[in-house]
């Protein structure tokens, strides 16, 4: 199957060659991890009753949970002693509650961690419970709790699962490496997801700048007749859920709706691996693959990192940052979050740590809009970014809502192409926030 493409999108320099051929190396567990209690979209977790400063915990032991449905528990990612429970800097920009564990260097697994048994013997409910207990969230970056996506309402049957291997953000190669190194796990995880959903078919979408991953995955599914690999023309933001569904199936998620409205569920390749490990080994989500890259990093690499490892520790392993580094970004250059300093932990949604020097970032003052409409042609959602931005600038949020401001998913294509360097995405974010605020009243 090949893609027909979606409207809009951009072709930034991909820079994936920096790390694409580097095998994932497991980073030595740090002496201290800081595990935020908010690592996913949804309700934040609370420390369990027996968890307090001074408690000794084992690797993989559940330390925090929430009664909310859209939430996923959090596990100890080293064995050791809890030294602090309190506010700590978070990649989202504001301090949140976090549990600090000093490692005892033993990496002693919690005894409750055991394989769940044969997949054939597990019911849909068993799989959902396992996935929830393992604290698995979408590893693509949006961190939506995975078990929620495995529990669609009865009136919305799912016939198709899409595995997202597009990895369209420039620089990032974590998913690429996972596909090359863990194809069998991806397919196993996918089968478990299919079983949990009662869905028949699956598509693995991969961009054609990862031909080796396409080959490897095609080989991995050769025995399966209900799973296909879709080769996608490389274009940003193809990995966005709605775009990916559109190019692989031709279906369109309705505005304001969810993929399950059209019978589809989407999971990232890393999430599939996490599901496989949770079933086969009972292993909760305690680590993830992170691409550490950019011209500001001395030794770029793909690392398997324990959740809660401080970015400063990761950078040290990678030889530190160059003097000329201007920006430190968690995630990719299009949608990632810039950080003032590396004193923040790696969380479940951290797909990349990117350091950019002044030669990569284009700093310019913005000039008036010349109505070139490049933002309109680039918008994958067919919005009018320049018009929404002008309305936001004039505080005309109601009008901005009328021209669908809320449909923007902030991919950044409009800001990327704008020759006048207007921060269009930022203005639209303001419009969205104001519209939502007015709705709540």
């Amino acid at each position: 199957m090949s893609s027909t493409g979606f409207k809009g999108g951009v072709h930034p320099g991909y820079h994936k060659e920096i790390t694409a051929t580097m095998a994932v190396i497991a980073m030595k567990p740090p002496s201290k991890v800081v595990i935020p209690l908010q690592q996913h979209i949804g309700a934040p977790c609370e420390p369990l009753d027996n968890i307090e400063v001074g408690t000794h915990v084992k690797l993989g032991q559940k330390i925090a949970d929430s009664s909310g449905f859209v939430s996923a528990p959090i596990h100890a990612t080293v064995s050791g002693t809890i030294t602090e429970i309190g506010l700590f800097n978070h990649p989202l920009g504001r301090p949140v509650q976090a549990i600090t564990i000093e490692s005892d260097g033993q990496d002693e697994w919690d005894e409750t961690i055991n394989p769940a048994g044969d997949l054939d013997d597990l019911s849909s409910d068993d799989i959902r419970k396992l996935v929830r207990e393992a604290g698995i969230v979408g590893l693509g970056g949006a961190t939506f709790p995975a078990h929620v996506k495995l529990s669609p309402p009865a009136e919305k049957p799912i016939d198709l699962v899409i595995i997202n291997g597009a990895e369209c953000e420039p620089y990032l190669t974590a998913d690429h490496r996972v596909m090359l190194e863990k194809p069998e796990e991806i397919v196993f995880g996918l089968k478990a997801i299919l079983k949990a959903l009662g869905a028949e078919k699956a598509v693995i979408g991969i961009e054609d700048n990862k031909s080796d991953a396409i080959r490897v995955m095609e080989q991995a599914i050769s025995g399966e007749n209900n799973i296909t690999v879709a080769r996608l023309h490389t274009k940003y933001p193809q990995g966005a859920e709605k775009m990916l569904i559109n190019v692989t199936t031709g279906r369109k998620v309705p505005s304001g709706g969810l993929p399950l409205d059209i019978g589809v569920v989407n999971h990232n390749v890393g999430t599939a691996v996490a599901v496989a490990e949770a079933i086969r080994e009972g292993k909760p989500l305690i680590e993830r693959v992170v691409t550490v890259t950019g011209s500001g990093v001395n030794r770029p690499s793909n690392l398997l990192i324990r959740i809660g490892t401080l970015v400063s520790d990761v950078l040290e392993v990678c030889g530190g940052l160059k003097e000329t580094t201007q920006k430190l970004i968690i995630g990719g250059p299009m949608m990632g979050l810039a950080q003032p300093d590396p004193d923040i932990p790696v969380i479940k949604g951290t797909s990349g740590i990117l350091a950019l020097t002044d030669q990569d970032i284009y700093i310019a003052e913005s000039s008036p809009c010349i109505r070139c409409a490049k933002c309109i042609d680039a918008c994958p959602v067919q919005l009018l970014p320049t018009e929404i931005a002008k309305l936001a600038e004039n505080k005309l949020y109601k009008k901005a809502e009328k021209i669908y401001a809320l449909d923007c998913f902030e991919c950044g294509c409009c800001s990327y192409v704008c020759p006048s360097k207007i921060p269009l995405t930022q203005w639209i974010r303001i419009a969205k926030a104001e519209i939502l605020k007015a709705k709540k009243k």
């Binding site: 409207k7 930034p12 320099g13 420039p170 709605k242 559109n246 369109k252 998620v253 309705p254 505005s255 709706g257 400063s312 201007q326 920006k327 250059p333 299009m334 949608m335 990632g336 979050l337 810039a338 950080q339 003032p340 300093d341 590396p342 990117l354 950019l356 990569d360 970032i361 284009y362 310019a364 000039s367 008036p368 809009c369 010349i370 109505r371 070139c372 409409a373 309109i376 042609d377 994958p380 959602v381 067919q382 919005l383 009018l384 320049t386 018009e387 669908y404 449909d407 902030e410 950044g412 800001s415 990327y416 192409v417 704008c418 020759p419 360097k421 921060p423 995405t425 930022q426 974010r429």
Partner: protein
């Protein structure tokens, strides 16, 4: 680490394209046209272009109290575009007035780049046409003298092919395509205009909708309304596309980013509207040439077009009317 990093909103990378680079691309696109007009009309054409561009840049620099006269390049584009719409050897003061009017009345009084409603070059030309029409739209035009750089082009005259059937039949379509006919500086050679247009298309600064809508409408109406004006209707359609300023207008004037619609459907409607009005003026109007006013009129309705052509968003449901 002591140094605090730069924090700003995503995306963190951007194209190197800027307003200046876009304007430079337009100037590059106009180069074949400018070259051709010098080859056809000699040094006076070059002089006209220089006066127009320099006046436009100076007036803008003075108005904005800027020292950098190239600035974002938009004034140079306006100056060169205006020159393209002038006769081959206009008096110098006409060029100066036109360029100054284009910048001041066409652009700066609205608030400068991005805020003007009308195409500045065409505002300049329109002012010259209504004020000094004798110099601008006379029926007797200098005849091009290909490759005679120093020739006195005012000595030989011919009528614009758009003046009437007799004049039209006096030139061949090949002549019209290459540009060896009487007319304004930049409008005679369809070939040179197409080369420039292709460059803009390649660089992604224009899409097919405005030129396609414009030229398509002119062609179809030429076939329908021409009534064997040439030997047959098809050729008459082609004649209307090649003659006069339609090609220049469709590729360089109507596509002006600031004054044309931003929505995809709006751009097509805009192009069709320009074609329609051009042909209405050509066939039933008193002037041989309708491009200037066709585009200016469509400029005026651009905001309305944009308002009514907001695209349905991805996954949006068609409203039941």
């Amino acid at each position: 680490m002591e140094k605090k990093m730069l924090v700003s909103s995503s995306p963190h990378i951007r194209t190197i394209e800027s307003v200046q680079s876009v304007m430079t691309d337009v100037l590059i696109a106009l180069f074949p046209v400018a070259l051709m007009s010098v080859l056809l009309f000699g040094y006076k054409a070059l002089l006209t272009m220089i006066i127009s561009v320099v006046t436009a840049m100076l007036v803008e620099a003075i108005w904005l109290r800027k020292r950098d006269i190239f600035s974002d390049g938009s004034a140079a584009v306006t100056g060169l575009l205006l020159a393209m719409t002038l006769p081959p050897a206009p008096p110098w003061w006409l060029v100066v007035i036109g360029a100054a009017a284009a910048i001041i009345i066409g652009k700066q009084v609205f608030g400068g780049i991005g805020y003007n409603i009308f195409n500045p070059a065409l505002v300049g030309r329109a002012i010259l046409v209504v004020s000094w029409g004798g110099h601008m739209v006379g029926r007797i035009w200098p005849q091009p003298q290909p490759f005679a750089f120093g020739a006195d082009i005012s000595a030989v005259t011919m009528a614009t092919p758009l003046a009437g059937q007799e004049e039209a039949l006096a030139v061949s379509l090949t002549q019209l395509f290459v540009g060896n006919v009487a007319g304004c500086l930049g409008e005679t050679s369809a070939l040179a205009l197409l080369i420039g247009g292709l460059w803009l298309f390649y660089k992604g600064h224009i899409d097919w909708r405005i030129p396609g809508g414009y030229l398509g409408t002119v062609f179809i109406l030429g076939v329908l309304l021409g009534g064997g004006f040439y030997e047959n209707n098809f050729l008459t359609g082609l004649f209307h596309v090649l003659a006069g300023g339609v090609m220049l207008g469709a590729l360089f004037m109507a596509t002006d980013m600031v004054t044309s619609p931003v929505t995809p459907r709006g751009r097509l409607i805009f192009g069709i509207g320009c074609g329609l009005i051009t042909m209405l003026i050509r066939v039933w109007g008193t002037m041989p040439e309708g491009v200037t006013f066709a585009i200016l009129i469509m400029n005026a309705v651009t905001p309305i077009i944009d308002n009514f052509t907001v695209p349905r968003q991805f996954g949006g449901v068609k409203k039941s009317a």
